[in-house]
Assembly symmetry: C2
Homo-oligomer: 219 residues x 2
């Protein structure tokens, strides 16, 4: 009752998120198959087996239906970053966690990842989808503020913290776009399978973008 807003009655946050993701999957599939403009709210509702009215209860616009799927691509990395212990270096933490995710349950739905890449790709030509992608990245940045602020021992509203958080979020975004485009273009997927190398690339980019302020263990 203290941490959770309400124990009974309301749909649990988790359940709501699942539903949003479900809708998002169908919407994204349709967007990819026939384009955003050619996909109607009715079609999405039909595909997921809900009434159109309910779709608009869960999403404020058609394009935003893509957000959860698009977010999925970043959400794992973000979760990993949130659990970053102060005494670890970024490289070590990323490498260990990414390796763990490879073998742990749940095995991170590959179909979702592909779908997310497709949406990001679509966002390159469809302005409507680009807003969804940018909104997702914006959310990433806000989360990043908390992480960075906590690391530097300063409030999230601090200018320095915000600059570093924005820079880090940019890295995640650009790398995501880059890797996604490469994979969709038919690049060798195994190039990104080496989690240690991947962790190093991410960590290096984040260190660079934050002027070294984010990456080292902190006392």
């Amino acid at each position: 009752m203290t941490t959770e807003k309400r124990s009974g009655g309301g749909m649990s946050e988790h359940r709501r998120a699942r539903l949003r993701l479900e809708i998002s999957r169908e919407a994204s599939r349709l967007f990819w198959e026939q384009g955003v403009a050619a996909t109607s709210g009715d079609q999405i509702a039909n595909a997921v087996g809900l009434s159109t009215r309910t779709i608009w209860r869960h999403f404020r616009s058609k394009e935003s239906c893509a957000e959860p799927v698009v977010m999925q691509g970043v959400v794992t990395l973000l979760t990993v970053l949130r659990s970053w212990p102060r005494q670890s270096s970024l490289e070590d933490h990323l490498a260990t966690e990414l390796a763990r995710l490879r073998h742990e349950e749940p095995p991170v739905d590959i179909a979702d990842e592909m779908l997310a890449m497709k949406m990001i790709r679509l966002a390159d030509t469809e302005p409507a989808l680009r807003t969804a992608w940018l909104m997702a990245c914006d959310q990433t940045e806000r989360d990043m503020r908390v992480i960075v602020g906590d690391r530097l021992g300063r409030p999230g509203g601090d200018l320095e913290v915000r600059l570093h958080a924005a820079a880090a979020a940019s890295v995640v975004r650009v790398m995501d776009e880059h890797i996604g485009a490469a994979i969709l273009a038919g690049a060798d997927v195994t190039e990104f399978q080496d989690v240690t190398a991947l962790a190093r690339r991410f960590a290096r980019a984040i260190r660079t973008a934050t002027g070294g302020a984010v990456g080292d263990p902190v006392a």
Copy 2:
């Protein structure tokens, strides 16, 4: 006929941009006064003295009507960066150009600047407007790729270039949000009047965010 797409017939790019800005001014004013949701396309059209149909000919959505005004805030800085000669340091170039802008014609409409700040502020609570702001920043980043790529002597699609461009664009965005929020909150405006200090702050932040790759003169 060579530089300009078409000499006769079509509305010149410049004229079109002026009109878009005009519409954007009225739209932004209405958004600020009565909120985005409460402002209809008809109202905007009425305020600027055009038919509603024409509004949709120039903007693909209601929210995007705010883009030109919002963009104004960054466009000057972007113009300055585009004219950055290779042999100058970022600090020097920014300081000289910003100082020149203070006294040169046209004197950069202060009302537009204020309006832009208000829109960015509104974007903090209105998701619809946030997309407009993010789209403007996205455009900034694309422009930045060209600038950075040219500076580093590498193609704009290069991963390194994109990372640095994104970082630099982030700096511009966060600083803009920060300064805008401060001014709207009633901070002392004179704090940002010292162009030399301002130039130093921007340059320092960009140097940091790009790991020092962008800022020095290049041979």
